[in-house]
């Protein structure tokens, strides 16, 4: 599986997870910003990050998350892939 296929696979898993947060995603899933467009409150955002860590068996650091590039689904998928 090449890099892009891996990223796509992660994006699909992330979008399924976000659907459980009652979010309706547009066709352009990769560029969806889960902070500015997600309308998630503080608790949901904290819970989402924690669910992602569990789902992919990784741990984010605060430094990872302060980078705004990681706030889109594509960017987050790239970060997850690096952490694998």
């Amino acid at each position: 599986m090449n890099h892009l296929e891996k990223i796509d696979g992660i994006c699909i898993k992330l979008s399924k997870l976000l659907a459980e947060y009652r979010l309706e995603l547009s066709d352009d899933i990769g560029n969806f910003n889960y902070i500015t467009e997600g309308n998630l409150d503080s608790f949901e955002l904290l819970s989402f990050i924690s669910d992602v860590e569990m789902e992919f068996d990784i741990q984010f650091t605060a430094d990872d998350l302060i980078i705004s590039h990681h706030h889109t689904i594509n960017g987050l998928a790239g970060l997850i892939l690096k952490k694998y």
Binding site: E20, F43, L46, I49, L65, I66
Partner: protein
């Protein structure tokens, strides 16, 4: 009488073009507020044809909320604010517990859902807000309706304090009750029509209700902050020249550094009050000693309102106290047998107040267990010193306060225990520097922990609100027990707190990178 509506209408007569509400870039004047509330009231009266109107409001925070509330007050409907973040099943459970007969929502999924009892009238918020556009030449003709012939209006508002999955505790407030709390706040903090009051708490929270009614009843301006971050709070205070705010303690912890950095950059701010949970000693010291405005700490509960207050001069003498009982409020400390404790002896804090609620809707037994001889049993532990000042020590009730929201572990444990493979589950709040506490779960099980955690997380996502979801799961073979064989959550909490997890650091990283978000 719809006293609250009429008081706001009097303010509209006095200051028709004054800004009543600021919500981001949107504003509404007193005259427009009253006109729209009357219009909505008329529409609702025709749409929901009940003599006993009990209407849930399940909409996002914003200017629309106080408008709807005034409309409901005008038609003497019982107002039932509900957290819009709850799942439909949870909302249906709450509606049934308070015998609601209509719900106003801004969520199409809720409008389309078949999970609601078919007898409940669903009202789309958009239909109400669109009224202003269709009726530009509307003249209030509400007097045509025979409002005063409607029911005795002793249930103005019901706050659902607990039990989205378990048994809800709906606290009943009369109009007189909310007005008495308004009077107390006005007297305590000298609020008048010059004040700009910041509300950063949701309306389904009793603090959000207080901060909404306070400026509208006093002829001031209500400034709504929908999403709290320290930066948003600071910007809103500066931009709107906020004069008065009651932040929950977790918000105060977050804004303290930017406030202290340049405290004189907030010349409008004349009074700050801390509420909802104890603030840490260092933050409290800074606020009392270094803020160039009045600061008060208060202690209270939704059921009784504010019971004590600590001002700047009292704080110099009693820095660790949560204050002295307010006028007409009586506080006692009792032991497990409900006998009075001596001064400086720790026991349960019980409060008698003219501002107390009449009890819990439909729960006469729980009401009589919670209110004894006129005193409300707070479930908090503390003591009174020789001078009558109250000192808060801990909570007796099993409750987590996160970001000012009360979270009941039993609601979450019910859902966790339904998950296949779970033998026992315990939810507790661990210390967090931003949110105060954060819920985590301790699970006793023989199952493989990773797959079980996945199942648990999926289950809570589907059945609980965001604020109820444990952020971390711990798997154990056994848990510490008290001498009577019950789970010792205090020992468990100390053990988990010693890990110093600082779970909200990731949330703050997300927010900080987003600037004003």
């Amino acid at each position: 009488m719809s006293i609250i509506f009429n008081k706001v209408k009097n303010n509209s007569n006095k200051f028709p073009s004054k800004i009543a509400i600021v919500d981001g870039d949107k504003t509404i004047t007193y005259s427009a507020l009253i006109k729209q509330a009357e219009l909505i009231a008329h529409f609702l009266r025709k749409k929901v044809n009940f003599n006993n109107l009990r209407i849930a409001i399940c909409i996002n925070e914003g200017m629309q909320l106080p408008i709807i509330v005034l409309a409901l007050n005008l038609i003497k409907a019982t107002i039932i604010p509900i957290n819009p973040g709850l799942h439909i099943k949870q909302i249906q459970h709450l509606l049934a517990s308070v015998d609601a007969n209509a719900i106003i929502t801004d969520d199409q999924k809720k409008m389309d859902s078949n999970d609601f009892n078919p007898d409940i009238v669903k009202i789309n918020l958009t239909d109400l807000l669109d009224l202003k556009f269709k009726n530009d030449d509307f003249e209030p003709y509400f007097s045509l309706l025979n409002i005063d012939s409607l029911k005795n209006y002793d249930q103005f508002l019901i706050t659902l304090s607990s039990g989205s999955t378990g048994n809800p505790k709906p606290i009943i407030f009369s109009e007189e009750n909310k007005l008495a709390r308004f009077d107390q706040t006005v007297k305590s903090y000298q609020i008048d029509d010059h004040d700009v009051v910041l509300c950063a708490s949701p309306f389904y929270h009793s603090l959000g209700q207080r901060l909404t009614f306070l400026p509208l009843l006093s002829g001031g301006t209500l400034c709504i902050l929908k999403i709290f971050t320290a930066k948003n709070w600071i910007t809103t205070v500066k931009k709107n020249k906020v004069t008065f705010a009651i932040p929950v303690s977790s918000h105060l912890h977050e804004v303290i550094d930017p406030l202290m950095e340049k405290p004189f950059q907030f010349p409008s701010l004349r009074c700050l009050v801390s509420s909802s949970a104890a603030i840490n000693d260092e933050v409290k010291r800074k606020l009392f000693e270094e803020m160039p405005c009045e600061f008060h700490e208060m202690y209270g509960a939704s059921e009784v309102g504010t019971a004590t207050s600590l001002n700047n001069s009292q704080a110099k003498l009693k820095p660790k106290s949560v204050g002295f009982p307010n006028i007409d409020v009586y506080i006692k400390i009792v032991n497990d047998q409900m006998m009075d404790c001596n001064r400086n002896t720790i026991g349960q804090i019980i409060v008698k107040s003219p501002l107390a609620s009449s009890g819990y809707y439909g729960l006469s037994e729980i009401t009589s267990e919670s209110f004894k001889s006129g005193y409300f049993l707070t479930g908090d532990i503390g003591y009174l010193d020789d001078d009558g000042f109250l000192f808060f020590v801990d909570r007796k009730k099993d409750i987590i306060i996160s970001g000012g929201i009360n979270i009941y572990p039993s609601d979450i444990e019910v859902v966790l225990n339904e998950t296949f493979g779970v033998k026992e589950s315990y939810v507790l709040g661990i210390y967090d520097s931003f949110l105060g506490e954060i819920p985590v779960a301790v699970i006793v099980s023989d199952a493989e922990s990773k797959s079980l955690e996945n199942l648990l997380r999926k289950n809570v996502r589907n059945n609980l609100s965001g604020y109820q979801r444990p952020i971390k799961y711990f798997f154990k073979d056994k848990v510490p027990l008290t001498s009577s064989g019950k789970i010792d959550k205090r020992v468990l909490r100390d053990e988990l707190n010693s890990l110093k997890l600082n779970l909200s650091s990731k949330l703050l990283a997300l927010y900080n990178s987003q600037g004003s978000n």
